[in-house]
Amino acid sequence: MKKIHIHEEYCIGCRLCEINCLVKHSKSGKIIKAFKEEFPRPLSRVHVEEKGYLSFALQCRHCEDAQCIENCMTGAMHRDEKNGAVVCDETRCVGCWMCIMSCPFGVVQREKKEKRIASKCDLCGSDGEPACVVNCPNEALSYE
């Protein structure tokens, strides 16, 4: 399975990955509309962690032995058969946050849409390379 690899030595903390992830997961897919006209604002599924000069963009690691899948009581959190990504089926998610409790990386977030759901990296579906990887200006993320 292809995964997003982090090269923290080249991450400059510009957070373009966050912006592009947010836009990619917005309804309009347009940067201005996503930030100014969509309420609630869509969430970025990648977050730049920073301490001193060390920074890196962290998103779901799509663990082989995923605790979030183990602990999901409705079976909403499941593994995508096509690309092997751990994804959340929003129709089945009831917002119990067991995935948030069990995630060792802290990359699942609460999102309020029509109802409370868990929001996390979905590797941008099957649209080739994820938006964060494509738009990283310093190649600090790679998809391989």
Partner: protein, 350 residues
């Protein structure tokens, strides 16, 4: 096939070599970009006077190491790992004066590479304190040849000044296999502006004089001539080769390829592009893989342009152009300049 036993040689796919920029003056990532690009293109990268970080030893086959007046980081492994050793006598940007790496740039890694205390200014003296004559230079050249088992060529880098032809001749007689001449427009991270802009002579004039003098003395075949200082395009390379150079060094052009904007603030150690800095916040701005791609692209483009120009001249190999001043014509130069360059006025025939 040549049956004669030759002195150790360097083989390059393109007559362009990355000039001496030390690890210290430029960042780890910038140096890594240069060595990786040199390996990919099949040319060499000069380590500069700041020693060689052990991480770069695997690229030794594409590295020329430098022994300068400060002798920073010079030890047996350093000499052994490289494919050639260069003795730096002078530098085009600051002939007659030594180097000065500000203490802000001397981080722990650089202090280990250079074998100097962390945070201290790295000052290279103006002269080599063991070289005050050609005979002294000969002793150092042969000391290095002994240390490397006569397997690696030894280069001597001198600045282009008024008596450069005599100095080059002396260097070759002292046993140098390569003479590198650095002209007045050579770039630098730290040199007094008055010296940088006023001391030295243009490289074209120096090169033509050196080539002519070496031919007259019958020792041109004993060494290669590499020139540096102000090589900014493929046309400069072609002109340099036609004036008698075997190859050219590029420094500033390579850094521009890496993203340098020539803001001339290298001496502050706060390079915004992560090239001439050691600040960990800034160095990570340069991804060496991207840098390598850019440098390879630069050299490839120059190589293709040079082939186009050779085709235009009707020359089928770069060796046929070397020292072939008949392919050059001057426009707007005085008679004395043309005489020194050995170039005819545009319009004059064979």
């Amino acid at each position: 096939m040549v049956k004669t036993k030759l002195a150790p040689q360097l083989e390059i796919n393109l007559p362009i070599v990355f000039s001496a920029m030390s690890y210290g003056s430029i960042s780890y990532n910038a140096f890594r970009s240069l060595v990786q690009a040199a390996q990919e293109v099949g040319t060499y990268c000069n380590s500069g006077e700041g020693g060689l970080h052990p991480d770069f030893y695997p690229w030794g086959k594409n590295i020329i190491v430098q022994v300068a007046s400060g002798r920073f980081g010079v030890h047996p492994d350093y000499l052994r790992v490289a494919s050639a050793v260069e003795i730096k006598i002078g530098q085009g940007a600051k002939p007659g004066i030594g180097g000065h790496l500000p203490g802000e740039k001397v981080s722990s890694d650089i202090s280990r590479t250079r074998k100097i205390p962390e945070g201290s200014d790295a000052i290279s003296p103006a002269p080599h304190h063991d070289i005050y004559s050609i005979e002294d230079l000969e002793r150092l050249v042969f000391a290095i040849k002994e240390a490397t088992g006569y397997e690696k060529p030894v280069s001597v880098k001198i600045a282009a000044v008024h008596n450069v032809a005599a100095i080059a001749s002396g260097a070759i007689r002292a046993g140098a296999d390569i003479v590198a001449i650095d002209g007045i427009r050579g770039g630098t991270g730290a040199a007094p502006q008055a010296i940088r802009d006023n001391v030295g002579i243009p490289i074209e004039l120096a090169l033509a004089q050196v080539d002519e003098r070496l031919r007259q003395e019958g020792i041109r075949h004993r060494a290669s001539v590499v020139i540096a200082g102000g090589i900014r395009s493929s046309t400069d390379v072609i002109k340099a080769i036609a004036l008698g150079a075997d190859a050219v060094y590029i420094g500033t052009a390579a850094l521009v390829g890496l993203g340098c904007h020539l803001c001339q603030k290298c001496y502050t150690g706060k390079c915004n592009w992560g090239i001439a800095t050691q600040d960990p916040y800034l160095t990570k701005r340069l991804n060496p893989n991207i840098g390598t791609r850019r440098l390879v692209n630069l050299l490839r483009a120059w190589g293709l342009e040079m082939k186009e120009m050779l085709g235009g001249m009707g020359v089928n190999s770069i060796q046929s152009l070397r020292g072939n001043k008949e392919h050059l014509r001057a426009v707007g130069l005085s008679r004395e300049e043309m005489q020194i360059l050995g170039v005819k006025l545009a319009g004059e025939g064979w």
